[in-house]
Amino acid sequence: MAAVLETLETVKSVDVDAYKYGFVTDIESDKAPKGLNEDIVRFISAKKNEPAWLTEWRLDAYRRWLTMTEPKWARVDYPKIDYQDLYYYSAPKTHAGPKSLDEVDPELLKTYEKLGIPLREREILAGVQGAKVAVDAVFDSVSVATTFREELSKAGVVFCPISEAVHSHPELVQKYLGSVVPVTDNYFATLNSAVFSDGSFVYIPPGVRCPMELSTYFRINEQNTGQFERTLIIADKGSYVSYLEGCTAPKRDENQLHAAVVELIALEDAEIKYSTVQNWYPGDSQGRGGIYNFVTKRGDCRGDRSKISWTQVETGSAITWKYPSCILRGDHSRGEFYSIAISNGRQQVDSGTKMLHLGRNTTSRIISKGISAGRSSNTYRGQVFAHRKADGARNFTNCDSLLIGNACGAHTVPYIESRNSGAVFEHEATTSKISEDQLFYCMQRGLSAEEATALIVNGFVRDVLQQLPMEFAVEAQKLIAVSLEGSVG
């Protein structure tokens, strides 16, 4: 939501109409030098005017990070990242993007067209100069922020950039930040803790059912602030919130490395539903470029009868390394994970979940649908664990993979660990290809091979699509068809 705030401020200070004519404002253009050291961490902290404890917290993370090594266990292969060759702070700026849509990769434009994105929005997504700021106000996210902000605050819901929450709700941030994903959790989470740029902060007070779906949908400025996102969502006793993240349209991004951290905390009887659609630039057909997406997402069902549900549609990024997890601490708490991961071209996906059953009578459900096409590699990696005290824990896991073409790979690596005889775990996995009979049936009725494949794949992933909020589900369905283009025939 940083983008939203900045945009609102900018829009306020400048006559909005000026943008229509391609007026370019110099919002802020300072950038820290390349590389990472304690000074850069202090610089980032100072830029955000953070309190001393947070600066120390970042520095502590940075020092820890220096002693860590990059994890190598995932089934992904990428050239070594030079962490000193990156910018860790670059404020939103008017950078030298393409001057008009004519200069944009025609492949990308074709995709926009298929997704039915209006021309104006296409410009923004492609990063055309001058288009950026002006259109912000048009988008849903902004309208959510402006129109509904008041309504949210009436309900007592706090929904703001985390950099703002540090000042407005320091006690909440200090109490919960890093309490689910500790500073030392893993290499990328530690890096994020040291240099996180911005992200959303949500607090739902006790007993409140958030009056609307919270969304960071179409966050245009994310391009420059979202490299190290940090999201913190706290659902207090008996509350409910549904949070949507991401966007269905493919997006150019100059930052190749993304290392986000998302922390969810559900107290007694609270429920959090977190949905993601990720469609970042996957690189070209030869595997050049593309985003490296190393995300740590974890939810903590701290209170009894709490529930956290992750739903994700992953179609973008060159490398995906992502395991949204649930710690089922409270008795009778419930964790859910619904995932569609589609890989095409030379994409590499290593994604899954962890369900850690610590409390009594905790239940979890994992439905994972992996589709690999082209020369891609798609791995499900998941852990289900029952602690000695987790009497009556129950898990059901189903991971299905679909292969399209014989140059791709689909892998399943589940870890099922039980320490309690009262825990019941069931796991099933299948791998197969699209049935010839089904394809034939569809094609006989006039569908092209591509349309038939899209139809069958949509059926294959239906269980997960149903979990998505309505506005996402329709677009996600289209997205699946677009993602699989070129994989048949």
């Binding site: 266990w73 014989n406 005889s421 019941v424």
Partner: protein, 423 residues
């Protein structure tokens, strides 16, 4: 957490490396490689993915010396004891403390100083830390050639004897020629209260259209560390069935590395593991489909009681050209106590699109409805449990084709359960 750790060698690792430095062993390329590997990586530990659940660095407290004191008395003593299982009409091949002693029956057996083992092994599992340990110490290789024509029955009878700690590293190569049909029974029995360590490496080379049924029974002593590696290469249309019943040893790990090299090979792996006390029982298998149109089925059942730990790791690999592969794996566990633990890792690694592969894994306790049903009919709870457990293990044992063996395996399960009822 990915913090770089300075590895400190454990006493067992120190002892192994000191022993290897003493020399006196033949220098072969394979051994040199294995020793270098051990020196660099130490024993397999939880940081090694394939050994995550069986950390030899902590489970292997010391490294006793390889057994050398072979005498006629020792063989006589072995002969006077009964094997873990008996089989009529079998060519009996006896190994005492890891060394081939004698064989009876019409079978071609060659026992020789080890040449370059890698040539025989094809190095499909040369990366494994335990295999490296075996190669660093193994001295001799026994080669069995199974003739074609009628069905052969072979009993590989491994006996461990002694009162002091020792280690053994038998190495066996079984060549099954084209069209042959063989039943191989492999039994392991050793003394209780002696912390001996044994690692049997058995390699099957199965030629086209040959048929192998392999049954393994592990009754190693209660303090033993028993490692076992089964390497199998299958040619076209070969059929390979293997069953393993594991109830012995303090720490047991049975690993199978199987490759189908020709089309239409048929693979069936099954096992039943019974673990109690503080036992640690691991079955790890890798089924590598490298040729098209092969079929594999894996079926494993675990009963884990007291403070024991069970581990099942099964990996089905399908290479890009192995189209039309049909693979199915199932592992099921019953935990009988709240301190028992089970780790299950069924993996699929698939690079071909026209395949049907799946796996299922379950873990839980005995079905209360079934217990109630039995109880309502006047069967005391303990006996009802035993009855259900017998049926549970029995479903795995049903996969054994030979009736004579099947009966004896069922008896062993009943004995194990009877001990439970008693206590």
């Amino acid at each position: 957490m990915a913090v770089q750790l300075q590895t400190v060698r454990t006493p067992a690792e120190e002892a192994i490396l000191a022993r290897l430095a003493e020399g006196g062993r033949r220098h072969t390329q394979t051994r040199e490689k294995a020793v270098a590997r051990l020196r660099a990586n130490g024993l397999p530990n939880r940081r090694v993915e394939a050994w995550h659940y069986t950390d030899l660095r902590t489970l292997m407290r010391d490294a006793p010396p390889p057994f050398e004191a072979f005498t006629d008395d020792l063989v006589a003593e072995a002969m006077s004891q009964s094997a873990a299982l008996s089989l009529k009409d079998a060519a009996h091949v006896l190994f005492v403390n890891g060394r081939f002693v004698r064989h009876a029956g019409a079978l071609e057996v060659v026992d020789a100083d080890t040449g370059d083992q890698a040539a025989a092994a094809g190095d499909a599992y040369g990366d494994d830390g335990a295999v490296a340990l075996h190669r660093a110490f193994a001295g001799r290789t026994t080669t069995l050639r199974v003739p074609p024509s009628h069905r052969s029955i072979v009993h590989l009878d491994f006996r461990e004897l002694g009162t002091d700690a020792f280690s053994t590293f038998p190495h066996l190569v079984i060549e099954v020629v084209e069209g042959a049909d063989v039943l191989v029974l492999e039994t392991h029995r050793g003394p209780n209260d002696v912390s001996y360590q044994t690692h049997a490496l058995i390699e099957f080379h199965v030629a086209s259209s040959a048929k192998v049924e392999h049954v393994r029974v592990n009754e190693a002593g209660n303090k033993a560390l028993s490692l076992s590696t089964l390497g199998v290469d299958l040619a076209a249309r070969a059929a390979f069935q293997s069953f393993s019943l594991s109830s012995g040893a303090n720490v047991a790990r049975h690993q199978i590395f199987l490759r189908s090299l020709g089309e239409h090979a048929k693979i069936g792996l099954a096992g039943a593991t019974l673990a109690r006390g503080r036992q640690h029982a691991d079955t790890t298998l890798v089924v590598d489909h490298t040729a098209p149109r092969c079929e594999s089925r894996e079926f494993y059942r675990y009963i884990v009681d007291d403070m024991a730990t069970g581990v099942f790791q099964g990996k089905i690999v399908v290479a890009p050209n192995a189209q039309k592969t049909d693979g199915g794996m199932k592992s099921q566990t019953i935990l009988l106590s709240d301190t028992a633990a089970m780790n299950n890792k069924p993996e699929l690694e698939i690079f071909a699109d026209d395949v049907v592969c799946g796996h299922g894994a379950t873990c839980g306790s005995l079905n209360e409805n079934q217990l109630f049903y039995a109880h309502a009919r006047g069967i005391p709870p303990v006996e009802a449990e035993a009855l259900l457990l017998e049926a549970f293990a029995g479903e795995a044992i049903d996969r054994v084709g030979d009736e004579q063996i099947r009966e004896q395996l069922m008896d062993k399960v009943r004995d194990w359960l009877a001990q439970r009822v008693k206590s």
